[in-house]
């Protein structure tokens, strides 16, 4: 990973983390300042999808050129995306506890998130079940592409085509965050850098994980 991207990630974190805790936010009755979770929870999902997209790109590249490095990168990105997904669910549950008074409800987006995580856990099970490295790379790339495309359709596109009765802001008649007229732009100034920061940190984590796994594989091959 390029050094300037790492510097950008660290700089963005130095801006985002203090601002997420201390910056001015839109204070609503009852909800108080729970909207601060926007910088942690919502950004996790954005970053997760970007990481998964990158993983699928590596998967396609593997199928075209059969370079095992591509498979290792794809795996590392999926692992980090899975971690982000779990953090997204936990932060979302905490947020839901304070806004909807429950940790889990029958909400299409919650179920979509849970099912995405299940699909990628199945990806891990599939990988673990194939001993031959070349075969494992090939099959998991195929499954990854198939699952990602269908997940995007089933979880991102399908719920937006219909009047889903979601509790999430901007859906089912709920006001979106755009309706908070006060401080709207101030919050954007933190929200977008937060997406950038978490995504870059994700790529950095994936890069480190890939390098560790790659070196382990090489040392096993030599010994």
């Amino acid at each position: 990973m390029k050094t300037y991207l790492k510097i950008t990630a660290v700089a963005a974190m130095f801006w985002v983390i203090p601002m997420a805790f201390l910056g001015e936010v839109s204070v609503q009755p009852i909800l108080h300042e729970t909207i601060r979770n926007l910088y942690w929870h919502v950004t996790m999902w954005f970053s997760m999808f970007i990481l998964l997209l990158a993983s699928v790109v590596h998967g396609i590249a593997y199928l075209r050129h059969n370079n095992p490095i591509r498979d290792e990168k794809s795996l590392a990105l999926t692992q980090v995306a899975l971690l982000y997904g779990c953090i997204g669910i936990v932060t979302g549950m905490i947020w839901a506890r304070f806004t909807w008074d429950t940790f889990w409800t029958k909400d299409p987006q919650l179920n979509g998130a849970a099912i995405t995580i299940l699909a990628y856990l199945a990806y891990m099970v599939l990988r673990a079940s194939i001993p031959d490295a070349r075969k494992r790379a090939e099959i998991s790339a195929v499954y990854g592409i198939f699952a990602f495309v269908l997940m995007v359709v089933l979880i991102v596109v399908l719920p937006r085509m219909q009047d889903v009765d979601s509790l999430h802001p901007g859906k089912g008649g709920n006001p979106g965050f755009g309706n908070y007229k006060d401080l709207k732009n101030d919050m954007r100034l933190v929200f977008y850098p937060a997406i950038l920061a978490w995504t870059l940190v994700g790529f950095w984590l994936a890069n480190l994980s890939f390098r560790i796994q790659h070196l382990t594989r090489i040392s096993h091959a030599q010994s």
Binding site: G112, I115, A119, V125, V142, I145, F146, L150, V153, Q162
Partner: protein, 219 residues
């Protein structure tokens, strides 16, 4: 794909094999019937449409998982070699997907008929319900067939294909269940929209399977 006729030939072949072995087809039908009877014993006639829809799709889901996961499981090494030389990979996956889609479409509709007989039909628009059952079952069957292929190539049994397929089949059938709920409660136009989306999902699953299967089927 050079022509469609090998696909059709293989589909007919698959059907003949199924008739000759008998155990597969009888097992699939018995599976649906037993789960219907168990559900009937447990719940009886249903008035609330949510429960009706939920139970219908759970029964259909497991019957689809059961039958589609068999589609690559019974290939002996000899038959694999025959298929390898006789059909192009795209033709093989299309034949198997179409066969499973047709099979589950029919068994889904039969299951639906028995379900209505036992549990009663709490109002609703019958044609759109039937279309939803048909397109929902066939979409889930296409996904299940591809996952059966993945599980078979990876050297695992049909157990893995259920683990791989369920996360994708569940949202598909939840969309079908949502559409059925609309159909029961009078939202016929929304129900048709769901049927259209499921039809598109069928096409997407078949197209992805056709594009990706050649990478699985090369050794």
């Amino acid at each position: 794909m050079s022509s469609l006729s090998p696909i059709w030939t293989w589909m007919r072949h698959e059907w003949q094999l199924e008739l000759r072995q008998k155990a597969g087809i009888q097992g699939a039908i018995l599976y649906v019937l037993v789960s219907l009877v168990v559900a009937y014993q447990a719940v009886g006639e249903i008035q609330e449409s949510e429960v009706w829809v939920g139970l219908l799709w759970i029964i259909l889901l497991f019957s689809i998982v059961n039958s589609s996961s068999r589609s690559f499981a019974s290939d002996s090494p000899g038959r694999k070699i025959l298929l390898y030389f006789w059909l192009q990979p795209g033709q093989l996956i299309l034949a198997r997907m179409f066969y499973q889609m047709a099979f589950n479409l029919v068994s889904g509709c039969l299951g639906f008929a028995v379900f209505c007989l036992l549990m009663g039909l709490p109002g609703g628009h019958l044609p759109v319900l039937l279309v939803l059952v048909a397109v929902g079952s066939s979409a889930a069957a296409a996904l299940g067939t591809f996952m059966a292929a993945v599980a078979s190539v990876s050297g695992n049994g049909p157990g893995l294909s259920a683990i791989l397929g369920l996360p994708l089949m569940v949202p598909t059938l939840m969309a079908a269940a949502k559409g059925s709920l609309f159909a029961l409660q009078g939202g016929v136009s929304q129900a048709w929209m769901y049927a259209g989306m499921l039809l598109l999902l069928n096409l997407l699953a078949v197209a992805l399977g056709y594009l990706l299967f050649p990478y699985l089927w090369r050794e």
